[in-house]
Symmetry: C2
Subunit: 147 residues, 2 copies
DNA sequence: TTAGCTGCAAATAGTTTGCCTGTAG
DNA sequence: CTACAGGCAAACTATTTGCAGCTAA
């Protein structure tokens, strides 16, 4: 997960104090390649800095969401997951067998959504498209997914 | 919300006993035009039959979901909402100002999703598309949405 | 009769909050 | 110095479960 700028700068820009817990939490987020939920994030943070309370993780996450730095997602399983909001918009492909989340983007789908909203007399505020998938049964060379 | 068949038949078909609480819960579901969550459903059920426990509502809902009669949705707000699974597939347009949920379907979007999954070497298990919208600012006759 | 239901209350899981101490700026 | 943060534990919300009595088939 990549932040648009340096952690210190991000805090400064949004009027947040650069504290120890915050540094660690944002550091762990920055180094995550997946979409961890708050509990998992806290677990990772605790490995580096055992004293950090999970309440602090939640407070930091909602603060960052409020500031528009992070986006919250809920992939159907009750828990909230986060990712940086500064990058290009994308949707998600969720592998139901492994839980892996793959990002993708389709301008054509975006355009169709816009059209549908307009047809109903609405403007789009945001949207969420999640495709739950499993590896294709058909053997095809190049998937790199040998069982 | 319309069930594919009579409540009694549905129960029989899935080997479920047609009990008082179940009758009321399914009745209320059948008469709902919105997508109530378990707590709201329990509230409505209680108006008709005050003794029904919310645990029974949850148990009935997950039982019906398990049997494929209902589909569970989570529109970002922690709570699970349900709708009948027998009808044609559709996606949701959520009016963020009123909370109203409007159903729609776009074969073209469906087709594109399929294409994307295939490109990544996956088969679609299911998907979820939610477009969060607000009434268009542009005045257009015929929307029937006078503020 | 009896496996399947139910109500009740207690248990979970995820998340939020109050309070009082700690510290970045 | 002091307003913002953090730790801790209690509070909350949504949902699940154990148990003992009830009932549809």
């Amino acid at each position: 997960m990549r932040f648009s700028k340096d952690i210190a700068d991000l805090c400064k820009e949004h009027g947040l104090r650069l504290t120890g817990p915050r540094k660690v939490i944002m550091q762990v987020l920055a180094e995550s390649t997946d979409h961890p939920d708050a509990v998992e994030l806290h677990r990772r943070v605790s490995e580096i800095s055992p004293g950090v309370a999970i309440a602090t993780v939640y407070r930091t996450l909602s603060l960052l969401e409020e500031k528009g730095v992070l986006e919250k997602h809920t992939f159907g399983d009750g828990r909230a997951r986060f990712e940086t909001a500064d990058q290009d918009h994308h949707d998600h492909l969720i592998n139901v067998e492994t839980g892996d989340v793959i990002e993708f983007r389709s301008d054509e789908i975006e355009r169709l959504q816009d059209e549908i909203a307009r047809q109903h007399g609405f403007d789009i505020v945001s949207h969420r498209l999640e495709i739950y998938v499993r590896p294709s049964k058909k053997v095809r060379k190049g998937t790199g997914k040998a069982p």
